[in-house]
Symmetry: C2
DNA sequence: CTTATTATGCTCGGATTGAGTATAATAAGG
DNA sequence: CCTTATTATACTCAATCCGAGCATAATAAG
């Protein structure tokens, strides 16, 4: 039976012989948003994402990650989602025969940043992507550094068509020339800067780190790319799934909810329209209580209507 | 250096010791749509998806898959997208210590189904999911078999709340009680039928295959779940990315394009509105030629405007 | 009692979208 | 040649959605 199966698979198979096994690593993008600050759990001075080898005792990838994170942070993980699996050869500089498979996950938690884990620290994710925060207008770094650097990079191409293509790509990613800023393109923007050699990781690979780098903290290995993947995924997801509530306390005001969404998306939204959307989708219900809060008229407190998870297959903020 | 790194990672790590390596397998959902039939490449009588172990000579997962598929089908793969990575223990019944990591991909090609590969055959994907094709109205199997079976399954639950939850889930997935059919829920529907023991794979696991099964061809292992993942992904993707064109010949009429979209989505669309959408998004341009075709007024031939890939980050059909 | 700040209700116009009507251009059958 | 069937293509209309703003309410601070 075993032999027959192998034979059939090999008829259309990637290879004819088995590899000697790969090392499998789990990497987590753990996100929380305490009072309007989007933070991610990092380890050590190199700002690595928490990760470790897959243990054989784990029943599944998901449950393994969940157990581990809950034990470490002391808070339940509300939401877990697989992000991407990397397996490129050059990721590990060691034995080129032994490949590292890196399976990355996005996890949402209500962890307070004050309660630090043994050696981990929660960092604002815009430290790594200063150009992604447009809540207070477009960051100056875009027009001061990124735009000229990308224009130069575009002009370095040999052929005219290539130059035009490069610049077109920059326009789409960063919204130059009055184009709109699209907050969901976080990964594409990082990859563009990487290719242009404008972030440390990209310059590392290209050898010559000649060009001036764009501000923004680097991470270990390709972890900044994984983080960019997680941010992009979360920014699209909140629009059609009620995942923001995994980041909220049990009771909250609508403004707190809005601030959380804005922190994730990196853009501001129209307050009245935001409320209209939330209410007409019936995502929340009043708790009956009010919030004293920071100056101004007291606000009603709301809680997530958990029944929506049963009802709507799609529903989200914006 | 190596030692320091390991020590740091272990502070927050999934485990304290290394596994002895896992076997990595690539699995492909290869899709084509020759004249309105959505087909998928399967291998052998058990209808397995093509798969094989990852070879160490491959530079990356993506390139490995691409090389292999193009060699086998003789056609270039227009589009590749990673679907999901499975690593559950019980997937392979053999050595429980040696885990199989299965990385699945979705690939789109213009392969003609007539040109069969050595032992592979292209099958209409609705053979595996008869309840997913609503192009000619809702399939009778839904009201005749699925609805009563799911109602019974719901009623088998011990507690009242659980019964209500189960039935609510069935309503959302299949659109009972005048709810709308949502074609994107392919995976959720399959998982529901699986849990209810109404598909062969689910009955297999539950041991007693007592209940009457829903019609639909099973696949090897969990390949039908992977296929459901691919279909669901494709159905959502065509709405905001111009991936359909990877499945089209160089020149096509708007009706052919519409039929392809409908084949994938499993629902029909309003013809005039479909054209309006395609044109206002400037996804296509006239070739200048007309098509003789099947009776009726000749139609203009169009081709994909490749420039949109540079321009729009988002654009799709519907 | 004025000012600042936040909460909340409501309106309005433009864009999008679902659904239909109308007309044009061809082939096939008589 | 004329009718019918079939497909292509243009245009209309209304409901809804959505961005943006106005207006008012309720609190704290000075």
């Amino acid at each position: 039976m075993q032999e027959k199966k192998s034979a059939r698979l090999n008829e259309i198979a990637v290879v004819g012989h088995h590899d000697h096994g790969a090392q499998v690593e789990l990497t987590a993008v753990l996100v929380a948003v305490p009072n309007g600050n989007p933070v991610v759990l990092t380890i050590g001075a190199a700002a690595a994402l928490p990760s470790g080898p897959l243990e054989s005792s784990h029943r599944s990838l998901q449950s393994g990650l969940r157990d581990w994170v809950e034990q470490q942070t002391g808070h339940p993980l509300g939401y877990i989602e697989q992000l991407y699996t990397f397996a490129d050869r050059d990721r590990s500089g060691e034995d080129p025969e032994r490949r590292v498979i890196s399976i990355s996950y996005l996890g949402l938690t209500r962890e307070e940043p004050s309660r630090a884990t043994s050696s981990g620290s929660w960092r604002n994710w815009y430290e790594f992507f200063p150009w992604e925060d447009h809540r207070y207008g477009a960051p100056p770094v875009i027009t001061d550094v990124i735009e000229p650097a990308l224009r130069q990079w575009a002009n370095e191409a040999a052929r005219e068509e290539k130059r035009r293509q490069r610049w077109q790509r920059a326009i789409v990613c960063f919204g130059f020339d009055d184009q709109n800023w699209n907050e969901e393109l976080t990964l594409q923007r990082y990859e563009l800067l990487y290719e242009a050699g404008l972030v440390e990781e990209g310059a590392r690979r290209n050898g010559a780190a000649g060009a001036q780098l764009v501000p923004g903290r680097a991470m270990q290995g390709d972890h900044r790319r994984i983080l960019a993947t997680g941010i992009a995924r979360l920014r699209t997801k909140i629009k059609y799934r009620p995942v923001v509530f995994e980041l909220m306390p049990p009771a909250f005001t609508l403004l707190q909810l809005q601030r959380t969404v804005e922190a994730l998306a990196g853009v501001t939204v129209h307050k009245q329209n935001f409320r209209r959307l939330i209410e007409q989708q019936e995502l929340v219900e009043e708790t009956g209580q009010m919030s004293s809060e920071t100056g101004g008229r007291p606000a009603k407190l709301f809680q997530f209507r958990h029944a929506v998870l049963d009802e709507h297959p799609v529903a989200g903020t914006k």
